[in-house]
């Protein structure tokens, strides 16, 4: 069985950044496995611009951002296999893949990086009422068809969910000559980036129905219309508020879920909020030597953060592989829990090893509701460590806080993050 230093599963932005960093940090045998015919991941179908402003200080189209990484990759001796699907991963870091050239192969990695990205929630996952005609697509699938194969999936389009992919498709389909009749969002606020609300909906006068959901679908073979209704605070449809639209196409933009079938097979524990692996500050999962980064860990909206995370995971995977921890005398230690308390959905990393604190430790998190004028409160073992004032917070915008090593030193039990909204009493 072939053995590699680091094997990366998935050749999207997370996987590419991880591979390059592992290679730069002394790993000679690095392998990327990608199931598509080319490397680049989801970026290749995201033809709009807005990628890389933080990393490259330029506003790139998705494919251009991928191209930049592929150029960096060419300067290395990293081995890549495309059209290659990883079908099994085990605790002892042995994985099995299949491809048309080699057939079925088993390889072992001293370290593994999970970078499988995420998948879209489908109508099954959200249970739509009404008949089952054709013309219903997830927004990402429609995006792939249109942007890579040139197929328009419909002419009169309704979109369920105000996530970014849906908004971007609203503009894209409009520019290609379709009519987008409306977008319905069940929450009272939009889940997309403000820039997409403005450029994709407002610019084209596409109506957004907040606190609305689909209550019926019409059509026998092909979709012919949708019915939406307003919802109450418990997200239940209110009778008498129905509105009907003629539409031959419904796009679902109702969320993304990290792709963790392989992680579960390897016995990796997942966080039930992110649906991604539980990780330490080294991006190491609960199985030693297996690391995770990008959308497989938690769903990102900024690719720059994905690359940054991939870079870190690649660095720690290289370190793991070179330090050879199996031979090292481990200081058995319980990790500190990083708690997402009131107002916060999750914090990454979920666990901290005090003996491995970094000079600067980043924490990424999301709030559970939009807020103006709020305070982020960070507590160390129940004592106030830091407060950060924020003018504006929203679930669709990931927040980042950096703590210094000195600030975290001496922590014993728990680091907790919570939100204190304006006007709230203690």
């Amino acid at each position: 069985m072939q053995e590699y230093d680091v094997i990366i599963i998935g050749g999207g932005s997370a996987g590419l950044a991880a591979a390059i960093e592992a290679y730069k940090n002394g790993c000679e045998k690095v392998l990327i496995l990608e199931r598509e015919k080319e490397l680049g991941g989801i970026l290749l179908q995201c033809i709009h611009n807005g990628f890389g402003l933080h990393l490259f200080h330029e506003e790139l189209a998705g494919p251009s951002y991928a191209e930049r990484y592929l150029m960096l990759l060419k300067e290395t001796k990293i081995e890549t296999k495309t059209d290659t699907m990883v079908i099994h991963l085990s605790k002892d870091k042995i994985l099995e893949y299949v491809n048309p050239k080699e057939g079925y192969v088993k390889v072992k990695g001293k370290a593994i990086v999970l970078a499988m990205g995420c998948r879209e929630r489908t109508r099954g996952a959200i249970s739509l009422p009404g008949s089952r005609p054709s013309g219903i697509w997830t927004a990402g699938t429609a995006q792939r068809y249109l942007n890579m194969e040139g197929y328009m999936v419909g002419k009169r389009v309704f979109i369920l969910g105000s996530g970014d992919i849906g908004l971007i498709m609203a503009r894209r389909m409009t520019l290609e000559g379709a009519t987008v009749v409306g977008v319905a969002e069940i929450m009272p606020y939009s889940n997309g980036l403000p820039r997409n609300m403005k450029q994709c909906l407002e610019d084209f006068h596409i109506p957004l129905y907040l606190s609305h959901t689909i209550t019926n679908l019409y059509g026998k073979d092909r979709l012919s219309g949708v019915q939406i209704s307003q919802v109450d605070e418990r997200l239940q449809a209110i009778k008498g508020t129905e509105k009907e639209f003629d539409a031959d196409t419904l796009l679902l933009s109702v969320g993304l879920i990290p792709e963790n079938a392989l992680s579960l097979e390897a016995g990796i524990l997942l966080n039930n909020r992110t649906k991604g692996p539980l990780v330490t500050q080294s991006y190491e999962t609960t199985v030693p030597g297996i690391f995770a980064c990008g959308n497989v860990l938690h769903v990102h909206d900024l690719v720059d953060f994905v690359s940054e995370e991939g870079k870190k995971a690649g660095y720690f995977a290289a370190k793991y592989c070179i330090d050879n921890p199996d031979l090292m005398e481990e200081t058995i230690q319980e990790p500190i829990t990083v708690e997402a308390a009131k107002g916060i959905i999750y914090v990454i990393p979920n666990q901290l090893y005090v003996n491995k604190l970094l000079e600067k430790q980043d924490f990424l998190f999301r709030v559970n509701t939009p807020l103006q004028e709020a305070t982020i409160i960070i507590e160390k073992d129940g004592m106030l460590l830091k407060t950060i004032q924020k003018k504006h917070l929203a679930p669709s915008e990931m927040e980042k806080v950096t703590l210094k090593k000195e600030e975290l030193e001496g922590i014993r039990g728990r680091l907790s993050f919570r939100i204190f909204a304006k006007g709230e009493t203690v």
């Binding site: 807005g50 402003l53 189209a61 251009s64 942007n147």
Partner: protein
């Protein structure tokens, strides 16, 4: 007069406040994290500009469409006209990253370029 605006130049989406005099002169822009926000706010209130990305037909490659981007922004209301012109473009693989596919589209002084490279590929 104060206008609230969200900067859309990058996904950071800074919340800005613009102070204008009676005659429309912009007095101050606050809330932006970088200079691009400032110039966006000024332009958005006078002549709104947008970047445009789309695809063109490509032959002899793995995919049937090649993603393209303009070399600069165009006035918001010109998007439809430019889309029409771009849809007439058809190229053959291989194409280089940032290869110019059409100069001076619709006399707007910007070009259409490939946003990725695309090699030849034998479709079986």
């Amino acid at each position: 007069m104060k206008t609230e605006m969200i900067c859309i130049v990058c996904p950071m989406s800074c919340h800005m406040e613009i102070e204008q005099a009676e005659d429309g002169t912009i007095l101050s822009v606050i809330g932006n994290s970088c200079n691009r926000g400032d110039s966006y706010a000024r332009k958005e209130l006078t002549m709104p500009m947008r970047m445009l990305t789309t695809t063109v037909a490509i032959e002899g490659s793995l995919h049937r469409r090649l993603p393209v981007i303009l070399t600069g922004e165009i006035p918001k209301e010109k998007q439809e006209e430019v889309m029409k012109e771009i849809s007439k473009i058809c190229v053959k693989a291989p194409v280089l990253y940032q290869q110019i596919l059409k100069q001076d589209i619709c006399d707007l002084g910007v070009a259409v370029m490939a946003s990725r490279s695309m090699d030849c590929y034998e479709n079986e």
